[in-house]
């Protein structure tokens, strides 16, 4: 490959100067927005809960108090009550954070990786390759996400790894789409046009520069997808298709609680849902804040 020295300063300048300024502006906008800061705090807090679950849980999440404390309402001993095996709900919800966040982040990490690959290849090469990749993505997008996830899980059988894989597969098209359109926008930018006109042969370099500039919209999309992934994991576990018992997850606690709703055992249903709600709220606030901070028009407001 031949390096074309005339071009490099252009590319380098584009990357260095306005870029750093952009990041600054973006971070300023993000942190000026109180709601997105609250979102960030919630997300960091939940990650903390997941990491230190063993330390902060008052009980072993799988320890049963079958004879002494079945289906106990919240009390000083069991702050959020107990389930049908006399297991402490607070401890189960705290440990449930682990699976929910693990599934949420891991599945979207995988989806982002493949989505960026497919989307950038499609956007960068265009033509037949673009068509081929995007038609396959269209087909995956033609299924309501949860339904496709249910269908694949029905075949693969329930397990943590399968749930992560399924949610990743369903999310890839979303990331690919966003990446592709960001790449297409970048391709019109002057620095890319200039490099192409001069005939820059180092596709790799160009590709890297384009991708770096596409990270922002991808990050927003990924944040919102993590929220969706956690919600989907919960739904799958609630339907009995997710992680196998006795591993506690928010969805599986709701699944267990379902049979006791009419007996007015409300705590098994209320508290896991609140945990989901708070996590979703954090991710949605953060996602909204990120996308506002990235939109120059709303920065002015």
């Amino acid at each position: 490959m031949v390096d074309t020295p005339q071009v490099l300063p252009i590319v380098a300048a584009e990357e260095e100067m306005p870029h750093r300024g952009q990041l600054r502006l973006f971070l300023d906008a993000l942190f000026r927005n109180k709601l997105s800061v609250i979102g960030l705090i919630i997300v960091v807090f939940m990650i903390g809960v997941a990491i230190f679950a063993d330390v902060i849980s008052p009980y072993d999440p799988n320890a049963q108090h079958l004879l002494t404390a079945r289906l106990q309402p919240p009390s000083a001993e069991f702050l959020l009550g107990t389930d049908q095996y006399g297991r402490d709900l607070l401890s189960r919800i705290i440990h449930g954070t682990r699976i929910s966040l693990l599934v949420g982040f891991a599945s979207i990490a995988v989806a982002t990786l493949f989505g960026i690959m497919l989307g950038s290849i499609a956007g960068y090469s265009g033509g037949l390759i673009d068509d081929a990749i995007m038609r396959v993505m269209d087909i995956l997008l033609a299924f309501p996400g949860l339904i496709l996830a249910i269908g694949i899980l029905a075949v693969l059988g329930p397990s943590v790894v399968n749930v992560i894989a399924v949610i990743a597969i369903v999310s890839i098209p979303q990331v690919a789409r966003v990446t592709r359109s960001a790449v297409l926008t970048q391709k019109e930018e002057e620095y890319v046009q200039a490099a192409m006109v001069i005939g820059l042969r180092t596709h790799v370099t160009l590709f890297k520069h384009i991708l770096l500039n596409c990270l922002a919209p991808i990050t927003v999309q990924a944040t919102l997808l993590v929220a969706w992934a956690i919600l989907t994991e919960t739904a799958l576990s609630f339907l009995g298709l997710g992680v196998r018992p006795p591993t506690p997850t928010w969805g599986s606690i709701l699944f267990d609680g379902k049979d006791y709703i009419l007996l007015n055992i409300w705590w098994m249903s209320l508290f896991p849902g609140l945990a989901i709600m708070i996590t979703m709220l954090g991710l949605n606030l953060l996602g909204d804040g990120l996308s506002d901070a990235l939109d120059p028009r709303s920065r002015e407001d």
Binding site: P144, I150, F238
Partner: protein, 315 residues
């Protein structure tokens, strides 16, 4: 390009998508490790039963031939038969569909009744107390899983207050009994979608209010009320239609959960029941059905969007 060209083009584009989704659904069965016939019937099946299923499903023929036969049957409305009751899958879907259709329709209406006025009001009174409250409620709405909201509704209104039935489908006991039974499920399902739609209405209304033609309308001496009625609302609703259309697909997946929570005999709960029994023809048929409904509604939405919006270029 005229609207009719666009219509033709969209229909031609929809064909490979249909073919693609059928291929995905067809492949599901073949992703099961091992012999599909044994996997489907389980270890207890006799050799004759397995042989019969192989024959019925053409499992001994090459895959492309199996797919061809399968899709030929699907096009004729034959989605196979239940492994347990031998009832045709298309009949099962037809018998469960009204429940899901009624639930989805009422939920959609509920969500629109809440979302459109709230979104418009929130955009017009931007940064007022009304706006803040509406936005916080909407944010909670998108953060709450709708099936959990359903559970909470049951606990409050059916178990604690005893005002409404905790579930079931009661239209056989008369219209009002049926509607009464719909309040909680449609409320729970509609609330989540109201939140999404409201956010969309709000942002597109704000977008429209920024446009020059709004200034022009004001400059030409129209009252603020007329400006909003004649110009702003109409233009803000058009992009919302896309979102509403997309949601019909999500309403269907929401129905799977809501029907499970409220014990409603719709297609959604049928899917979950079939999953528990591993009744694959039903699972396959329902997933294909859900995807087809989703594709058709997206198509209708795109077309009506193109039809309603004079600015769009059919490309």
């Amino acid at each position: 390009m005229t609207f009719w060209h666009y219509l033709a083009k969209r229909l031609v584009y929809a064909l490979p998508v249909f073919l693609g989704i059928s291929l995905v659904v067809f492949s599901l069965i073949h992703l099961i490790p091992g012999d599909p016939a044994i996997a489907l019937l389980g270890d207890v099946a006799t050799d004759e039963e397995i042989q019969a299923l192989r024959q019925e499903w053409n499992l001994d023929k090459p895959l492309y031939e199996q797919f061809g036969i399968w899709i030929w049957h699907v096009l004729q409305g034959d989605l196979g038969r239940s492994l347990y009751t031998n009832q045709p899958v298309s009949e099962i879907i037809a018998s469960r569909l009204p429940v899901t259709a009624i639930l989805s329709a009422i939920s959609l209406v509920v969500s629109l009744i809440i979302a459109i006025p709230a979104g418009i009001l929130s955009a017009l009174k931007r940064n007022s107390l009304t706006d803040h409250i509406a936005r916080i409620v909407a944010l909670l709405g998108v953060s709450i899983p709708n099936f959990w909201l359903g559970i909470i509704f049951i606990i409050i209104f059916a178990v604690y207050l005893r005002w409404l039935p905790p579930g079931g489908f009661h239209f056989d006991k008369g219209f009002w009994a049926g509607m009464e039974g719909m309040i909680l499920p449609a409320g729970a399902l509609g609330a989540a979608y109201a939140a999404i739609t409201m956010r969309m209405v709000r942002s597109s209304m704000i977008e429209v209010l920024r446009q020059e033609y709004i200034e022009t309308a004001r400059a030409k001496g129209l009252s603020e009320r007329q400006v909003i009625r004649r110009h702003a609302i109409k233009n803000a609703i058009i992009p919302t239609i896309t979102v509403i259309g997309m949601q019909i697909g999500y309403l269907l997946s929401g129905a799977v959960l809501t029907e499970t929570v409220f014990f409603m005999p719709g297609v959604g709960r049928e899917l979950i029941t079939a999953l528990a029994k591993r009744d694959f023809p039903i699972i396959q048929g329902l997933i294909l059905f859900f995807a087809a409904v989703f594709v058709v509604t997206s198509l209708i939405v795109d077309l009506s969007y193109a039809f309603l919006n004079p600015k769009i270029e059919y490309s």
